[in-house]
C-alpha cells in the first residue's frame, strides 16, 4: 500500500493546514479505482479530518464525520458544486443543477416536487411491470446460461424499464449511459478521465437537452409529471427541463452500478445467494447491503460557507471537503464486520444514497429495480459462477465493473 500519512511537512502550494494529517493518495487514480479499501482504511485511521495533498482539499472518511457533513447543508453547501470545481471561482461545465447543486431555500421547492413524483406512492403502480420484466430478463439469461452480467443484466434491465418510466422516445437512448458517465466523471478533478469525457460530450449533451423538452416526453412518465408541476405553479416552465435533466443524469447509470454491485456480491458470496434463495423476501435488503458494501457512488464534495470546527479541526470558509461515502460505509466504528457482505444486516443509516436533504431522490426507483431483479434471481437461479476475468470500469465518482462474465443455472 502506498498510502502514507505525515503530519510534519507542509505542502506550500496548497497550504496544508497545520495539525491536520495529510496524505499523498489520489482518490481519482487508477490505483484507487482498482483497490480503494486499503486507502480508505489509511484515510480513516489518519484522523477524523484529513488533507489531500494532491488536490488541496480536506477529506472525511469516517462514518461520523461524513454523516455530520451531509447533515449540515448550510455550513457544507452544495451550491458551489459537489465536484472539485468551485462554482464561486470557476464556471460550471454545464448549467448548474437546480436540485443537486442548490441549497435551501432554493433546493427545498425543487426537491419537494421530485420527492412526490418519485415517492413510494408513485412506485406502487410500477411494481408489477418492473417485476414482470425482471422475471423475463432472468428467464432469458437462464436460457443463455453464460453472459456478461454488466452489459446483459446490470445495464440491460434498467434500460428496459427506466427510460420508459421517464417517458423517453426510442431514438437516441444510446446516449444515456455515456451522458451519465460524463456527469459523474465531471465531479472529479481535471484529470484525463474528466477531460476526455467533456471533450466527447457535445452529442450526448445535445441529446439530453432535447429530451428534457415537454413535447419529447410521453404522457404519464416521470418527465411529463415534472412538466405538469410547472402548470400547477410549483416550479417554473424554465425549471422543468432542468429537473428532467437531473433524472436523466442520475437515474440510470447509478442503478446500473447498483445492480452490477449486487450481482457481483452474490457471485462472490454463494452462502449469501443461498440465504437469498431460501428467503426471497430478503431481496430488498440484499440490494441495500450491496449498496453499503460496494458504494457505487464513492465520493461527493461540499464547500464550506463559513469557518467551522469539525472534530477538533478548524476549517476555513470556501474550502472543498471530499466525503468518502464508501469508506464511511465500511467504517468499523459504525459497522460490525464492516468488510463482510451480509444480506440480513440492518443497513439503516448507510450513506450509499447519501443522507440528509440531498439524499438520493431516485432511491425508491433504484430500490424497486434492485429488489425485483434480485427477487427474480432468488426464485429462479440456483448457482452463479464467475467464468472469466473481472474488469473494472474507471470513473471519477462511480465504482463498478466493465465486465463480469458469469454462468447461471436454474434452481
Amino acid at each position: 500500500m502506498s498510502a502514507t500519512s505525515r503530519t510534519d511537512s507542509v505542502t506550500p502550494e496548497h497550504g496544508a493546514p497545520a495539525g491536520v494529517p495529510h496524505l499523498d493518495v489520489d482518490p481519482f487514480s487508477t490505483e484507487f479505482f482498482e483497490e480503494p479499501h486499503p486507502i480508505h482504511e489509511a484515510l480513516r485511521e489518519a484522523g477524523p479530518v484529513v488533507w489531500l495533498d494532491k488536490w488541496g482539499v480536506y477529506g472525511v472518511a469516517r462514518y461520523a464525520e461524513v454523516h455530520a457533513v451531509l447533515n449540515d447543508p448550510m455550513t457544507f453547501c452544495s451550491s458551489r458544486g459537489v465536484g472539485l470545481s468551485d462554482f464561486a471561482k470557476e464556471k460550471a461545465w454545464r448549467p448548474q443543477s437546480i436540485i443537486l447543486e442548490a441549497d435551501p431555500p432554493a433546493h427545498t421547492r425543487t426537491r419537494a416536487v421530485l420527492n412526490q413524483i418519485l415517492s413510494a406512492t408513485a412506485m406502487k403502480p410500477l411494481r408489477s411491470h418492473f417485476t414482470a420484466l425482471a422475471e423475463a430478463k432472468a428467464d432469458e439469461l437462464l436460457a443463455r446460461g453464460g453472459f456478461d452480467a454488466i452489459t446483459d443484466l446490470a445495464e440491460a434491465y434498467p434500460l428496459s424499464v427506466f427510460p420508459d418510466a421517464l417517458g423517453l422516445k426510442q431514438e437516441g437512448r444510446e446516449n444515456l449511459l455515456p451522458y451519465a458517465s460524463l456527469v459523474f466523471n465531471a465531479f472529479g478533478p481535471p484529470n484525463q478521465l474528466r477531460q476526455e469525457a467533456i471533450e466527447r460530450s457535445a452529442p450526448h449533451q445535445a441529446y439530453v437537452a432535447e429530451q428534457c423538452q415537454r413535447e419529447n416526453l410521453a404522457p404519464g412518465g416521470f418527465g411529463a409529471c415534472i412538466h405538469a408541476r410547472a402548470d400547477a405553479g410549483d416550479i417554473t416552465h424554465e425549471e422543468a427541463p432542468l429537473l428532467v435533466r437531473s433524472l436523466l443524469s442520475a437515474g440510470l447509470d447509478t442503478t446500473v452500478y447498483g445492480i452490477g454491485a449486487a450481482v457481483y456480491c452474490l457471485a462472490r458470496f454463494p452462502d449469501q445467494l443461498a440465504k437469498l434463495r431460501s428467503d426471497p423476501t430478503l431481496a430488498r435488503n440484499a440490494f441495500e447491503e450491496a449498496i453499503r458494501f460496494e458504494s457505487p457512488v464513492q465520493t461527493f464534495f461540499r464547500t464550506t460557507t463559513r469557518e467551522v470546527e469539525l472534530s477538533g479541526h478548524r476549517i476555513g470558509e470556501g474550502e472543498k471537503v471530499l466525503m468518502f461515502l464508501g469508506a464511511a460505509n465500511r467504517d468499523p466504528r459504525r459497522w460490525e464486520r464492516a468488510d463482510s457482505y451480509d444480506i440480513t444486516r440492518r443497513t439503516t443509516g448507510h450513506v450509499g444514497f447519501g443522507s440528509g436533504i440531498h439524499m438520493c431522490v431516485g432511491q425508491l426507483v433504484a430500490r424497486l429495480e434492485g429488489e425485483v431483479m434480485l427477487a427474480a434471481i432468488a426464485r429462479k437461479v440456483g448457482k452463479i459462477e464467475i467464468t472469466g476475468p473481472v474488469k473494472r470500469r474507471y470513473n471519477n465518482t462511480l465504482r463498478g465493473l466493465e465486465s463480469l462474465p458469469i454462468t447461471i443455472s436454474p434452481a
Partner: protein
C-alpha cells in the same frame, strides 16, 4: 430530554431517550429500534417509518401534511386512523412520554 416508548408487534416495550428537535424516526434509528426502516432518511418519500400513535397522544401531535397523508396510503402495513410517519413527528418537551406502536412490516 423527551423519552419515547415503542411497542413492538410482539408486545415488547422499548423506551428510548430523544434529543429536542429530533424526529421520532431519527431517535429510533439512532438507537437501533428495529421496525423503523426509514429508507428515505426522513424526506417523506418512503413510508417505511410508519407508526401507530397511542390514542392519548394522537391529538397532541402537529397536524399531518398532504405529503404524509398521501404516503400513508401506500404504507406496507394497514393504514389506521392513528397512523403517522415517525419522521414527521418532531420531539419537544410537550411530547415527553410519547407512545408509538410499530406495524408488523415496513416493506
Amino acid at each position: 430530554m423527551p423519552s419515547i416508548t415503542f411497542i413492538h408487534p410482539d408486545g415488547r416495550q422499548q423506551r428510548i431517550d430523544a434529543s429536542h428537535g429530533e424526529s421520532a424516526m431519527q431517535a429510533a434509528t439512532r438507537q437501533d429500534v428495529s421496525g423503523i426502516l426509514a429508507e428515505c432518511g426522513g424526506s417523506a418519500m418512503c413510508a417505511t417509518c410508519h407508526v401507530y400513535v397511542d390514542d392519548d397522544w394522537l391529538a397532541r401531535l402537529p397536524a399531518m401534511g398532504d405529503d404524509e397523508d398521501a404516503l400513508l396510503d401506500g404504507a406496507a402495513a394497514e393504514r389506521q386512523a392513528n397512523s403517522r410517519l415517525s419522521c414527521q413527528i418532531k420531539l419537544g418537551a410537550d411530547l415527553d412520554g410519547l407512545v408509538l406502536r410499530l406495524p408488523d412490516r415496513q416493506t
